[in-house]
């Protein structure tokens, strides 16, 4: 029991379970999953389905944050990738031509990876602070996306393209498989090769890492590139889901949600240790919260207040200091004050 409680994922899991239980109490049907037209249909599936693009972005973001960076441009990359894919398809004679769709996807992904590389270049080679370097693309990127779409929403009619974001494979949405695949890829890359160690060490202490011979430039470049790639994939899923590309709104505020997910998952914004599974849990928490808000009919004007309170609760409950205060005030043995404890908190 003690071991479980000490596990870094214990509290995120608890929060997620609490949210789900709340839903179950509110609506006993919440967990019901039906099979409809050969696919599973239900709230839980929706959470996975709508969570998958965010999960993709957050996975990429985790690596960037682990290197002590941040990527604010993901939302814009989502929009650009969506725009490129839809624009390419819309220019085709036969929008449903598999070759065309594949070309469109490859183009979009290549562009996204390139944009990620550009961010990495600014950060590592030019030495611009990550937040500013990626802010540039965040601003410019929306413009580029709109330039591609001429400010319009490009609608495509391409069942083949639609499969990616709205299709079903073995009862589950295709996008869920894509997210799972990328997650597995990231986990494999970071845990089976030495990349994870390098990323963590660069994020923890860049100087020491350089002196230990770790190619910190390459490592960080890779992180940004991967993040761009993930955002691009998310853009394809999002646009394919609604069969259209909206340069202005696609992926709007994604950067905040993605960073939030990463932080809830236990990765520190100061770089170093990162937790991909934690990030995934963070995404599920955020998406479950969103779904909860929609399905319980919280009035839109208080949505944000609810979100704020939940976010606060999530991070307070993860704080050992708060739990101690809470326990103390519940038991109310004797009010004693907080102790200064240096940087001794261990993450198991």
């Amino acid at each position: 029991m003690e071991r479980i409680r000490k596990h870094h994922l214990f509290w995120p899991v608890l929060v997620l379970v609490a949210l789900l239980v709340f839903n179950l109490l509110y609506d006993p049907d919440f967990f019901r999953i039906q099979v409809r037209d050969g696919k599973l249909y239900g709230n839980l599936i929706d959470i996975l389905f709508f969570g998958s693009p965010l999960a993709l972005v957050a996975i990429g973001m985790t690596l960037v944050i682990a290197t002590r960076g941040i990527d604010l441009s993901v939302g814009s990359v989502v929009a650009i990738s969506a725009a490129i894919a839809c624009f390419t398809i819309s220019k085709g004679a036969d929008q449903n031509d598999p070759g065309l769709v594949a070309t469109a996807i490859l183009l979009a992904l290549a562009a996204s990876a390139l944009l990620g590389l550009w961010n990495g270049f600014l950060v590592t080679r030019v030495g611009i602070q990550p937040i500013v370097a990626t802010l540039i693309l965040m601003v410019t990127g929306r413009g580029i996306a709109q330039l591609i779409t001429s400010g319009q929403i490009i609608t495509v009619i391409s069942p083949n393209y639609k499969v990616i974001g709205a299709g079903t494979l073995l009862w589950l949405p295709v996008s869920v498989y894509i997210a799972a695949l990328v997650f597995a890829l990231a986990a494999l890359l970071t845990r089976k090769t030495a990349l994870g160690l390098f990323i963590e060490s660069v994020g923890c202490n860049p100087t020491a890492s350089r002196l230990a011979g770790i190619r910190s430039v390459t490592v960080r470049l890779f992180a940004y590139l991967f993040c761009g790639f993930c955002a691009g994939l998310a853009g394809i899923i999002l646009s394919s889901n609604v069969s259209s590309a909206d340069g202005n709104n696609a992926g709007l505020w994604y950067e905040l949600d993605a960073i939030l997910a990463v932080v809830i998952g236990g990765t520190s914004l100061n770089g170093g240790r990162f937790f991909l599974t934690g990030t995934l849990l963070g995404v599920l928490i955020i998406q479950t919260l969103t779904t909860t808000i929609y399905s319980t009919g919280v009035p839109p004007e208080v949505n944000l207040v609810v979100k704020a309170l939940v976010v606060l609760a999530v991070c307070l409950i993860q704080s050992e200091g708060f739990r101690r205060t809470l326990a103390r005030s519940l038991v109310s043995v004797r009010p004693s004050h907080q102790r200064v404890e240096g940087k001794v908190t261990t993450r198991g």
Binding site: Q129, I131, L147, G151, I264, V305, C315
Partner: protein, 325 residues
């Protein structure tokens, strides 16, 4: 040793100033009506509130933290002011101190959570951002216009400057805040403690500095600045609205960082922030003088100008460093 020897730490500031002058000169050559004092003064008038929040944010970033709640606190301040004045009929003399106190205590609350419960500033202030913005809509979804004579006077009074130009009262407030903040950062114990915390929080603690108190104060100060910026913003807009100052936190952070403050904390100058704000303003001005850009080109050009500026700044700075060495 010479009296005019440039210190390495000052190189970015000097580079930014030089660039700002350069851009202004370029703008003057390119656009009619650009080369006038009033254009510069408008820069101040239009960015007074940004300057005020950015000053508060500078302290936060110097300490190695971040405050995402500033834009929402501004919105909440405008909303609260408007609701209290127009709907509840309270006098401005009560409302303004009240909103300032509220902003300050909200900041202090976030600071306390950040410090005592050791939660990352990003997430705490993000929650603060959602909360403040959400509270706006709880007060009212609609915009509330302010017709109170005091606010109208504050909004429309033009303080004449020799040469037929003018500034607004908000500019005076903003410049006063700037001056006070420079003093605070460089000539008080509090300010130095902020730098120390940014340099290394654990060391600061071991050096016997009041880390906890200072951190709470830093966020309280940022909250105060946001609320004050909210008041100035209310003068500027004469309305309370839940969507005011949307996304301002990023503009603010950008201004601070462009001004040479390191996001990792401990390095930077309040005056740099002033330059950062002016730079963002001048980019906006250039865009509106250009007058032929479509919406997307506007974004692209803003981004490209930003990039150019930062590249030049780095180039100049590294030159300076080489010469210094």
């Amino acid at each position: 040793m010479a009296r005019f020897a440039i210190k390495k730490q000052h190189v970015p500031i000097i580079a930014s100033t030089a660039l700002l002058i350069l851009i202004f000169a370029a703008g003057s050559l390119r656009y009619t009506g650009f080369f006038s004092l009033q254009v510069l003064l408008n820069l101040l008038i239009d960015n007074a509130f940004l300057l005020i929040v950015a000053v508060g944010m500078t302290f936060v970033i110097l300490s190695g933290g971040i405050d995402l709640s500033v834009g929402s606190v501004i919105a909440l301040t405008t909303m609260l002011s408007a609701a209290l004045i127009e709907q509840a009929g309270w006098p401005p003399a009560v409302v303004i101190p009240l909103v300032l106190a509220l902003g300050t205590s909200m900041g202090a609350g976030m600071g306390a959570i950040i410090h005592y419960y050791r939660i990352q500033p990003f997430i705490v202030t993000l929650a603060g951002m959602f909360l403040a913005r959400g509270l706006c809509f709880v007060i009212s979804i609609n915009a509330i216009t302010i017709k109170d004579p005091f606010y109208v006077t504050m909004a429309q009074t033009r303080v004449p400057i020799p040469g037929g130009n003018f500034i607004s009262i908000s500019v005076i407030i903003a410049l006063a805040v700037l001056a006070a903040a420079i003093w605070l950062a460089h000539f008080t114990r509090f300010g130095r403690c902020v730098y120390a915390i940014g340099g290394n929080e654990y060391s600061a603690l071991l050096m016997g500095l009041p880390v906890g108190r200072t951190k709470v104060l830093i966020y309280a100060f940022s909250g105060f600045c946001s609320a004050l910026a909210g008041v100035v913003f209310t003068f500027y807009m004469l309305s309370g609205y839940g969507l005011h100052a949307l996304g301002l936190e990023l503009d603010t952070i950008a201004a601070v960082v462009i001004g040479g403050t390191l996001l990792t904390g401990g390095v930077g100058y309040v005056f740099g922030t002033f330059l950062g704000v002016m730079l963002q303003g001048i980019i906006q001005t250039i865009i509106s003088f250009e007058g032929t850009l479509s919406s997307w080109w506007t974004k692209i050009v803003i981004g490209v100008l930003l990039l150019l500026f930062i590249l030049l700044q780095r180039l100049l700075s590294s030159r300076g460093e080489v010469r210094e060495a």
